[in-house]
Amino acid sequence: MNIPTDYLLGLSGILFGLGILGVLMRRNAIVVFMSVELMLNAANLALIAFARQAQDLIGHVLVFFVIAVAAAEVSVGLALIVTIFKTKHSIDIDQVSGLRG
């Protein structure tokens, strides 16, 4: 396939920047969490692009591990969000400023 690696890196950078904007701007904790997933996705895209350029499958293996760790992270993070919602009745991250329940 004839796509230059630079274009893929550009797309990856744009998606990563959008994810950072989501983390910084939104205050709904679930949307912030989804923006983190978007950033992981952008990093995966860069890894795949580099793996193709270097003709090395290690990039694919790394992306596989990133996806597995993201699944673990999402399960724990969403459980935390549910627990915070039970105690504070809100998932506005501005109000979650203390660790005590």
Partner: protein, 174 residues
């Protein structure tokens, strides 16, 4: 302009547009669905890049399992529209400025002198990135990390259950 480049441009447009829509939509359910669209577009891009196995993992794990978990939690909490009021007035402009600065820096690194240059696609065999090739690598050189990942997933599952369950002892106590 070859066909591949047009397909890439279309997919990139879909991915960026869905990411922007995810950021600006007020309803969290719409955000989650736009993120699914983004993941599927990137998965098709992986297919173009000789990464068939990763594309399938992306669709099943990311767009399937993880986003279904997100949608479950959003609907369980009824947290579709919980953004009201504005506590920090300077937050959004500051975020926009910082994000734009980071994007400019990344553009400078990628397309400035330190970039990779426009490398034409390497000639890859048909087996590159196939499930058989990636699986062979996973079960030979990377067997230990693979098993550690399974322990990590087990720990995450136990942790999620411990965090999210009702605390019966405290409720029945004095």
């Amino acid at each position: 302009m070859t066909t591949d480049l047009w397909v890439f441009l279309g997919l990139a447009l879909i991915a960026v547009a869905s990411a922007v829509s995810m950021l600006v939509s007020r309803n969290a359910v719409y955000s989650a669905l736009f993120l699914v669209l983004n993941f599927v577009a990137v998965a098709v891009l992986y297919l173009l890049l000789n990464a068939a196995f990763i594309a399938l993992v992306q669709v099943t794990v990311y767009a399937g399992a993880i986003m279904v978990l997100f949608l479950f939690v959003i609907m369980l909490l009824g947290a579709e529209r919980l953004e009201t009021g504005r506590a920090l007035r300077w937050q959004q402009p500051a975020a926009a400025v910082l994000g734009a600065a980071l994007l400019a820096e990344m553009g400078w690194v990628f397309f400035g002198g330190a970039g990779t240059g426009s490398v034409p696609a390497a000639l890859l065999g048909g087996a590159f990135g196939s499930p058989a090739a990636v699986g062979r690598l996973l079960f030979s050189d990377y067997l230990l990390p693979f098993e550690v990942t399974s322990i990590l997933l087990l720990a995450a599952m136990v942790g999620a259950i411990v965090l999210a369950r009702e605390d019966r002892r405290r409720r029945e106590g004095p």
